[in-house]
Symmetry: D2
Subunit: 371 residues, 4 copies
């Protein structure tokens, strides 16, 4: 693991999820830029102190020096955004499989570089679009593939959070100065890169369609903020299907309000991340249906993504564990379902989305192609 | 009443609502362009046959010939869209108070003409934005006025229906050829004029803010359709607040999915028409609150808009009855609360919205001012 | 109308509901034991002053003196409980159709006396079990009749309110001394007679089954209270099916939480009065279904009980209006569906339920037959 | 681990939960009565083959023979019910800490024997009342301790499942003959012992009150079934507070419908296991509040029981992991909060509940004391 030391919630999430899937063991990593803190953290996790490295370079040289049977095989990159690319690049160049937090890189070119490396090396690269591991998202994907919706006519995704609201209005001084609001650490976008990409990815993941162009209206809310904290993006797909993504980090009181709706010519599907075990199928002609995991009527992909009997709610750790499980299958060259883990291609798409959205906003909200 | 004969659901709704408010009595009208059917309908309602007129002209001459104490005072115009203006115009010119269905007119000029007439005559004119009568919408308006939200940062409204989906995909032949899909009867827009205007009106009604400009992306879905059936509209307000309206008449399985969310710097308010007696207040710092009507904590405006004890759900007829009640108070020159019934000004705003939206869509989705 | 003057919410509800159904006109009544107040109230309703009577005896002699074509045909009895019987008795004896609030009488003998009168006279008698007019309750009844549930195995009803909580804990002095807590005005039971009977009636209404015996555990909560405010009742049906009714008037914060669940061998149906336009069908083998009114898939009985298009919520006034409509059909000897209005038989069953429940509680919570 | 081999869902759940808490490592156990299958299972988990034992006796002798630093410290007993006691007894007698599935034993005497052993040895014993680990249940417990509800007046718990419905009606032959329906393996009760105990435990866990007596009405539904599959239990507490538990394993379509409601003199709290991250606080005087985990307003006990930011749903594995975490703290003699894991005392209470309930049902539904 690179990053994820004391106080890093996303690193902890990766460790828990990988333990649930039970196909990974934490051996070592670079847990902090301060090596002493990094070692202290490693010890707290029961690791050998010589596997707690000071830098990615030390990590690579140290691990490569070990016999292959002892060497770390796969690395989770859970650093701040600007370090995703350099870490992932070095890891791929040196033969490590990579599980990378999103956004994958800072630029499209970097993303394409990683894609090329993955293509060239045959290594497994997974992007942590955590929500694609939920069983009812996988049910949604399968129902759409089966044609249950007819032709898709409209896509509508919402991703509303409120946590930055407290910061910009000065109610929560503890987290001011967080790296997420500094472009040099976080990238050209806050809201769209951090959560808009989840919505974008979910569209393409569930429908199999590709977004062709975007028109974005972003807002920094407060003049002292250097990045978008809120925005709406209009979408067009190849076949003239349209959609919209609404995202905000300043929607007061919203916690993690990620909702996905796909409207077809026959029926529609609606999902809400905060109640992830319900999937609504709306129909013009029949009562709405509520799909839930753990039932005999589930598709195979949903079924393999839920382990408890029906009615026993699994949550976001299990969702990420499902992705780790697919990641492991790929590393071990076992058969897996397309969609069991998000790939480097999805990372490239995500970076193109972010850059197109920012460009559209600059160009007075005109259409920009994603390609 | 003009319009609203056999088979007209909206006319029936107005009659029921006016009976609930108990301040109106149906005396006569023009119920059908076929006078025989109109008379038959009038008889079915227990009316005198000589008050069932063949045309608006006959109605006016007939009623004006009566002594003032017997004369009809107020008229509900519930015809197809293209007849709203000519009927309302003649009624105002001849001294009748008017309750008009929306959209108020076919053009902005017509709307402004009606506004001028209302200003000149001092007659009461109400537009049937039915949803503004719901007690929890009125609670929302009052809470915003009290400053509970802080500064408004974002507005998000959804109005999704699916009923035209069946028509354009040929599953429901009974209602093809409906006047709503013919521009000469319905106007330049279907989705935005019929339901988008409700969302637009609700924004200005609940927040007191004025939308300054719009950017619209509309879709006819099917090439044979002459009007928009689906669309997204970006909004800007004077003080750089932004918003979005999403509306569709082809969202398969959606019934009358009108949702309104206003996000402020301190808290946010969310309301859903299909469950109209719950209003959610979200906060960064406290548990969400669920406001319901009939409670001692309600604002006065909400309280006067609900008659049953808490937990006894009132519905859309009672919402419209509340508007009829305000309309009656104005006619009788009793005191009433601003917002008790939608006025001709709101009708003008609505027509400007529809025309700006259609214009923006034509201009390759560029910003158009509403003024 | 007998009762229902100034400040009486249930009388107002009856007037509104009867206006919605549009088959009744308020002509006169006894609106207050103080004749001056009664006249003042009648005037406020636009009534002729000579139809505002001082007593039930005056009412009857006054109306009978009129020619039949002018005479009031049907009377709503909306007095406090102890006056239901004497008023209904006199009205039936003198040829008036009666709409009676519940509980129908104070004793089983009185209830049976009314039943005999109805049988003998052929007059129409309806009991105001308001909730049986909701379209989704009627859908429930029809789905059960169609055998959708298989064999019924369990019935579970909840009726939780909290309004008396404030009174007994002294937080709401305004409503202390209310007649509902005085046995001589209200009867032998508060909670079970006022709301438990709704639950009991709904069981027999939706399932067509008859409860055979009850075992009740009631609570007065506070020693100064003379009647039950809270209780649980176990139920047995003829064929060994079991059920439970849970009711309370001191469930803090509950508004009108009436929930009905019927569990069958194949599927189950769940309904909640506070969100009355949704009916859930649960199944072991398929996703849950959500039935809503105004849809083509509705049963005919549900369809005729909802007038708006789907997604436009109707509420409790419309539910009571549906019952008034059935009442009118019966009076006019038009055909109507069994179940369109609750009958005197249901009133007898309700009184037997209340008396059996109170008896069971006295007998140390042992089983008591209802027959 | 004793039990929990191939196909055992509850064993898998314990392994996952213990991995999430990251304070346990699976070393060995008795995974199957067939030693070959047990070894095969152990290998699949990456265990040393000599730690996969053939019997509890072999397990104990094998582990005791090891130096203390290598010896297994704590054992999860996840066998069928009738084996809980003999395993737990031997383990405690030989110095192992025990995490035991419920019901703890077959008889009250056995339960009291275990309690005595725990008292005598000072070992840590935890019972897997999984749901007590949910953060919002812990919030509920803390809010009640803080007096937010005032005096408790009523308790209402529902635990409805439908899975046995398919079996007894012959639709699902795969699971007929399951040990849960055989008294010699499962005990004197099915529904009340398997799920009724969860409801009973939750009452005492959240309120701190003790149930004094019960009156039960149970049903086997089908004559060929030897145990209760459905029932209602009336409850009395010391201070005349009353309550009710409704439980069923044949409620068609219900998945794991465990709901808990506590009604106080001031406010009430409601929780639903299938949506475990919401806790409703109802009040007579204020809007209802919705508590969710991960927020600054949470009590400390809820806060330490949720690791993700607000809005990222954790589920049942995390709930059980919280209990494993408390279990580990006790073993390591770290400080922990009372309520972090269910104790042997709670197991004794549960067995008394089951036996009292069965006795009450036999005694024609009369009151039986629990003591």
């Amino acid at each position: 693991m690179i990053g994820g030391g004391f106080g890093a919630f996303i690193g902890d999430a990766h460790r828990r999820a990988s333990r649930i899937s039970d196909r990974f063991q934490l051996i070592g990593g670079v847990f902090d830029k301060d090596i002493e803190k990094g070692k202290e953290f490693g010890l707290s996790q029961g690791l050998a102190i010589d596997r707690c490295y000071a830098s990615i370079e030390d990590f690579i040289s140290g691990e490569i020096a070990l016999p292959e049977s002892e060497r770390i095989e796969a690395v989770a990159v859970v650093t701040p955004n600007f370090l995703h690319f350099p870490n992932a690049k070095l890891l791929l160049e040196n033969g490590f499989h990579v599980m990378c937090e999103k956004p994958m890189t800072m630029t499209v070119a970097e993303a394409e570089y990683l894609q090329q490396q993955v293509d060239d090396t045959g290594l497994t690269f997974s992007l942590a679009h955590t929500y694609t591991g939920y069983p009812m998202i996988r049910e949604m994907r399968e129902l759409i593939r089966q044609g249950v919706l007819g032709n898709i006519q409209r896509f509508d995704a919402q991703y509303y959070q409120g946590w930055i609201n407290s910061i910009i209005h000065g109610r929560d001084n503890k987290i001011t100065g967080v790296w997420r609001l500094e472009p040099e650490y976080s990238g050209i976008s806050s809201c769209m890169a951090d959560i808009g990409t989840h919505a974008f990815n979910m569209i393409e993941y569930t429908t199999g369609l590709k977004v062709k162009s975007v028109l974005a209206d972003l807002s920094n809310v407060n003049e002292s903020v250097k990045m978008d904290l809120d925005g709406t993006v209009l979408l067009r797909f190849d076949d003239n299907v349209k959609g919209v993504i609404r995202a905000s980090q300043v929607a007061a009181g919203e916690e993690n309000g990620f909702k996905v709706a796909v409207y077809g010519s026959k029926t529609s599907l609606l999902w809400n991340q905060e109640n992830p075990n319900e999937l609504y199928l709306l129909s013009d002609t029949e009562p709405a249906r509520v799909y839930k995991p753990g039932n005999a009527y589930n598709t195979e992909f949903a079924d393999m993504s839920h382990t408890m009997p029906a009615g026993h709610p699994e949550g976001i750790y299990e969702s990420l564990a499902n992705i780790y499980n697919g990641f492991a299958k790929s590393i071990r060259e076992e058969s897996y379902v397309a969609g069991e883990f998000p790939t480097v291609q999805e990372g490239v798409r995500g970076m193109k989305f972010v850059h197109s959205v920012v460009e559209s906003n600059k160009q007075n909200n005109s259409w920009c192609n994603i390609n």
